[in-house]
Symmetry: C2
Subunit: 366 residues, 2 copies
């Protein structure tokens, strides 16, 4: 095999697939990136058996072939080489030579045939959305996952295609986060649970451009994201997800609108007084046109008044400030609206269209 790349193209491709390289595995082949130039194009592969990424890289195929190279050393060599053409050659003993200008590296490779193949997915029904939108939807929900695998279902997000919308839902024992995206087509109720790790990794390589599309496909056990010249395959989590919609009902008796930035600043200040393990609540005292916020812990006390627009009953309610912060942080609106039922029922933060909805359980302060 002999291939010639620009440093920039090769680096970009490596950075994409690195997201699917296992750092913990004891199988050396899973720590590798596969370079495959046997079928007319150059593709890089990585596969940790849960997540697999394939990306096509621009380059000249002088002699076709394939090889698997240790991802760490391959990526670092590429990054540190001068900004010239990078030539990768292999010999019959699977030794790879990586050269650029006056610099020449020899590193041992592994046989491409031992590299695990990507899952086969029939690309029939698909959802197309903007890469930026998908990235935003992940950012605005992923914090509610519970990655401590006590309940495997909570380590993933539900992708729900129903009627003409995609909903992404995450939850742990204390809160629910929902983002809804209206779609053009109509879908008949597909529900799949996508691992949080997959969403985390893919959001690092999705573009920030609203005009760049990504297509999403499902098979029985996998999800496939296709964008640019890259395919990301991930296993799905098996099981029946929580019936979230049942938890979203309730007659709200108080509605409060507050400036997002001021509220978030106040929550951050309250959080200063909380040390790990100390779970004192922040107390919101909501009266006409005012929200009084206070917290008392072993470290001290904090008190603050925020102007707010209230309709309905006065209410006094306590929360873990971290859960409020997580939700408020990712809302980009200038003002946010909170809905309360009573002191012991969940609070909702949502907009009129319900393109976002956050449910947070209160803390007992009676």
């Amino acid at each position: 095999m002999k291939l010639i790349f620009s440093k920039n193209d090769l680096s970009k491709g490596i950075n994409y697939v690195l997201k699917a390289v296992s750092s913990k595995t004891t199988l050396p082949i899973l720590r590798c990136i596969l370079i495959d130039a046997t079928e007319g194009t150059i593709k890089l592969f990585a596969n940790d058996m849960e997540l697999a990424i394939v990306t096509e890289v621009e380059g000249d195929i002088v002699v076709p072939g394939s090889i698997a190279l240790d991802s760490r050393i391959f990526s670092e060599i590429t990054r540190r080489l001068p900004d010239g053409d990078i030539i990768i050659e292999t010999d019959e003993n699977l030794n790879a030579t990586i050269s650029c200008e006056n610099s020449l590296f020899n590193i041992p490779g592994q046989d491409a045939s031992s590299f695990p193949p990507v899952p086969a997915i029939e690309t029939e029904e698909s959802v197309s959305l903007s890469q930026f939108t998908l990235k935003e939807m992940i950012r605005q929900t992923i914090f509610s996952l519970d990655m401590n695998e006590n309940n495997k279902l909570m380590t993933g997000e539900l992708f729900e295609l129903k009627n003409n919308a995609l909903r992404m839902i995450s939850l742990d024992g204390h809160r629910i986060a929902i983002r809804k995206l209206p779609l053009n087509g109509s879908y008949n109720g597909r529900k799949e649970i996508v691992p949080g790790k997959t969403l985390n990794e893919i959001s690092k390589i999705l573009s920030d451009n609203i005009d760049d599309p990504v297509s999403v496909y499902f098979s029985e056990n996998h999800i496939l994201f296709e964008f640019d010249r890259t395919s990301v395959y991930s296993r799905l989590i098996e099981g029946e997800y929580f019936h979230v919609d049942n938890m979203l009902n309730g007659d709200t008796s108080t509605k409060l609108t507050v400036n997002k930035k001021s509220f978030y600043g106040c929550l951050e200040r309250a959080d200063l007084l909380i040390k790990d393990g100390d779970n004192r609540p922040i107390i919101l005292d909501i009266t006409d046109n005012n929200m009084n916020i206070r917290i008392t812990t072993n470290m001290g006390a904090m008190m603050e008044d925020l102007p707010a627009e209230k309709s309905g009953n006065d209410i006094r309610i306590g929360f873990n400030p971290k859960f409020l912060m997580d939700a408020v942080r990712v809302i980009d609106d200038e003002n946010i609206t909170l809905f309360f039922i009573n002191q012991k029922a969940p609070c909702f933060i949502k907009n009129d269209e319900e393109t976002y909805l956050y449910l947070i359980l209160p803390v007992n302060i009676s």
Copy 2:
């Protein structure tokens, strides 16, 4: 006590003194910042018993007084408050109230009288230099310290005032770093060993402006740096420093000039093939107008040729690439010159004026 600050002034002052707050101490008072407004100005103090920093902060003294506040919570509250005037008040029970706009914190304080005083230093003989120069001299020598306190002397840098120059010298078992600064006055041979930790912390608060001066004073056991409205006191390390000048002699037989950036890039690439614990040398093969650089480790091999201007004998010599990198990294010249004696003698990297001089021991490759 009642004081009023702008957030900006108070934050800046806190950031200065934080460098002398002990994070490891079990004495709560040493984790505090002392605010002293008893003598007409407002001063902040921190003191970990090795290093003490005092800085004057702009502000209004409504009621004079003093209090010591836990540094972590005080600095974080200040940082997170809105950008308005910050008011700090204390009551007779040492409770402090920190308020800004609608936000109000109550935190417990400690009695100022239990705070350790700064050392008394007679400010007679002093050296004045630019803050930027001192910062640069620290950056260009501090990497050669050995902070594993096997030999206490190696954890500090020698400040040597002799004739009309200041030299700063650091060394460990493998190398020596020397920076020399010509001074206007003449000095009669003062030598003091300043802890590396002190130099590290002070370089974080020195300005990058070549016109901002810093004055340096010595007492028997302490060094004092005065700049802006800040004083940094540090204990000195006791003992007789190494006689470095004896190690700098030797008839050099090879002189080599090479582009700094190319050489450094090449060293970085060689270093990629070294894992922790694997101490394979990098081998320099110097012939007319060429330096061939190569390394072979368990991970692979690397080879590179660099154009270089040589006078004297050809030489083949091995080094730990980290030691070469550390020295080459901090030299700002476009080209650097290396001097060799023989394969088993140290190499010198220095300029004509010897404002910098780095000695590095070779590794046996025979």
